[in-house]
């Protein structure tokens, strides 16, 4: 009886899981394996090119300091964008979850989600129009302010950060919102009844309880931003050389796929190491 049930259960589990895992295998695991294979070759095994197995692509990272410098620059960019997104997104999520109810919440949510629904390339070029000299931002500011200002953020690090924050802000808002909404309002009332002021409640009750959501959002932002290339390239111009853009170059400009693949896996490894190092500390913070 129980073995029959166990078998039925297993069948159910397999049939529910397999579509996703077959998809992941075909669409992610196989191409990724191919890339890992390429990263150990001297040249792409297409056409009649000569190739042999090598670890040169990985050695290249350590032979010059350029790659490490760029990787560090990308990590700093990732941290900057993550911190700004959290600082901007968490208060927004808090207000949406705790202060606003009904129709206006839906409308405000729509505004948060909107970046998700627009094409990322369109979004970035919109920022280009806003941020360039004589652009929307400069004209707008000069229309309001009594004195002339000169705003040309285009092709600068702030422009890249602005573009990336805009793209990834929804992640931290959504994950924080879900975590904040799960917090029982009675907990806040209870803290108040014990004499706690707003800052104490935020620090001792709300922040610890919403930390899992906040961290999930932060990871969702940090990882792709470290490898980002579109925003740095379009909004950064000359200063927009990052680890991600170098990888992109290897694939679309230099056609050195093995080096691009090797650099990608180094990036993946570094990100995993960062998350693994941070996770014990983060887990402790959650309990």
């Amino acid at each position: 009886m129980s073995t029959v049930l166990a078998r039925q259960n297993r069948l159910k589990i397999v049939s529910l899981l397999s579509p996703a895992y077959i998809w992941l295998t075909v669409a992610i695991f196989l191409p990724l394996s191919a890339m890992l294979y390429f990263s150990f070759l001297s040249d792409v095994p297409f056409g009649d090119a000569e190739w042999h197995y090598t670890s040169e692509n990985y050695q290249a990272f350590f032979q010059t300091s350029t790659y490490a410098t760029l990787l560090w620059k990308s990590i700093k960019l990732g941290l900057t964008v993550t911190v700004i997104s959290v600082l901007v997104g968490f208060p927004c999520a808090y207000v949406l979850a705790k202060a606003i109810k009904g129709k206006s919440r839906e409308a405000l949510f729509l505004l948060v989600i909107l970046p998700f629904w627009s094409n990322s390339l369109v979004r970035i070029f919109c920022w280009a129009i806003v941020l360039r000299g004589n652009g929307v931002l400069e004209l707008g500011l000069n229309a309001i302010l009594p004195f002339e200002v000169d705003v040309n953020l285009m092709f600068s690090t702030p422009a890249i950060v602005i573009g990336l924050v805009h793209s990834y802000l929804p992640y931290v808002i959504l994950t924080s919102y879900l975590a904040l909404q799960a917090i029982d309002d009675n907990l806040i009332d209870a803290a108040r009844s014990m004499g706690a002021n707003k800052l104490t409640i935020l620090w001792r009750v709300i922040l610890p309880l919403s930390l899992p959501g906040l961290l999930a959002g932060a990871v969702l932002i940090f990882v792709p931003v470290v490898g980002s290339f579109m925003e740095p390239r379009i909004l950064g111009g000359r200063v927009g050389t990052y680890f991600g853009t170098v990888i992109e170059d290897q694939f679309v400009a230099v056609f050195n796929w093995p080096l691009g693949a090797a650099l990608s896996f180094i990036l993946l490894a570094v990100v995993l190491v960062i998350l693994a190092t941070a996770s014990p500390a983060l887990r402790r913070a959650q309990t």
């Binding site: 009675n186 907990l187 009332d189 209870a190 803290a191 309880l209 959650q286």
Partner: protein
């Protein structure tokens, strides 16, 4: 410790009058129940005393202090919530010590008072546990310890026992009363459970649609309800309204009216004060009424009988062995002593639906 005084408090939410000119005094050290059906404003009144909401008009005093403009965090109250509202991220000791940490009493003092409070609720050993590792009854004790550890002026309880199962609830009622006596704190609790209110409190305030209908000691409110609503809400009551009261005089019924009653008065008789007999009871000094037995519900020591006289339904609660053995549909006599006839004042305050 302090007394609490609520005077002419009114609070509206939009078009809803949640509290309508409510006045009640809660003397120092007493145990008080606010009782009413859902939507009666009892929780609103508690939250107004706590300071979560501010009344539109009227005054609230805690001790000598007028608190209308003081928010909850400055009122020095202890509050216990229906779902306990323990901080899931903190240990039991940290939960209980939260209010002390806010008041910056110092680590040693905090440890001492937390263990004292946990001793008081008999949870001395569980300080290191997390709330999710506790049973419902234990969580409730933690919530109580947390509410009293700061020595607040008044303890407010919002349906504190409603999430517990029946046997645990009775244990906790006794426990709650013991602890309240021990520390002598003025305690106000909200409940919709009339039995709980009668058991625990020195004084009951009955609310309906935002209006305080009656306030007084449990026995007084039970024996002299000001209107039909109170009579039926607090315990059960067989109501003999004015018009049918006249009709009742026919068909062999003989109801002795108290002095204060007119033939049009509304009368109420508690089900436990009526008795059932097969033959017509003797004696001039007794109210009696012939009726048909509709149903007999056995519930252990006690049994409930549903009876009918003309179109009036009556309920009688008696010891099972005191009820004559009779098939459903049988003819019997209902009787009760004249002093058990309660005259319910007419046109009393609570009866205005607005």
């Amino acid at each position: 410790m302090a007394d609490v005084s609520v005077q002419n408090v009114t609070k509206t939410f939009g078009s809803l009058k949640a509290l309508n000119d409510v006045t009640m005094h809660f003397p120092d050290g007493g145990f008080f129940a606010l009782l009413g059906p859902s939507g009666s404003g009892k929780t609103t009144l508690l939250r107004a005393i706590a300071g979560f909401i501010f009344a539109d008009s009227g005054s609230i005093h805690i001790g000598d202090q007028s608190v209308e403009h003081i928010p909850v965090e400055k009122r020095d109250i202890g509050m216990m919530f229906q779902n306990y509202a323990l901080f899931p991220n903190m240990t039991v000791a940290d939960n209980v010590g939260f209010g002390l940490r806010v008041r910056k009493v110092g680590a040693a003092e905090e440890r001492r008072r937390v263990s004292e409070a946990l001793e008081l609720v008999q949870l001395g050993q569980l300080g290191d546990r997390k709330p999710h590792q506790l049973s419902g009854g234990q969580r409730q004790r933690v919530a109580l310890a947390r509410a009293i550890v700061t020595n607040p002026k008044v303890l407010l309880l919002d349906e504190p026992l409603s999430a517990l199962d029946k046997s645990l609830r009775v244990d906790m009622q006794i426990e709650l009363k013991r602890i309240q006596r021990e520390i002598g704190i003025t305690t106000i609790f909200v409940t919709h459970d009339q039995e709980e209110a009668l058991t625990l409190s020195d004084k009951i305030g009955i609310l309906r649609q935002g209006t305080m209908i009656q306030a007084g000691p449990p026995r007084e409110v039970y024996n002299n309800p000001v209107d039909v609503f109170t009579a039926e809400f607090l315990g059960e009551a067989n109501i003999l309204t004015g018009q049918s009261g006249l009709a009742l005089s026919s068909g062999g019924a003989d109801i002795k009216l108290p002095h204060s009653a007119t033939p049009q008065s509304t009368l109420a008789v508690r089900p436990e004060n009526m008795s059932i007999s097969i033959s017509e009871p003797d004696g001039d000094e007794i109210s009696k009424l012939p009726a048909t037995l509709v149903r007999r519900i056995f519930a252990g020591a006690m049994a409930t009988c549903v009876l009918k006289h003309n179109d009036n339904t009556f309920k009688v609660i008696a010891r099972d062995q005191d009820i004559p053995d009779l098939p459903e549909g049988g003819e019997i006599w209902l009787s009760w002593k004249p002093e058990h006839t309660i005259v319910v004042p007419e046109g009393s305050v609570g009866f205005d639906p607005n």
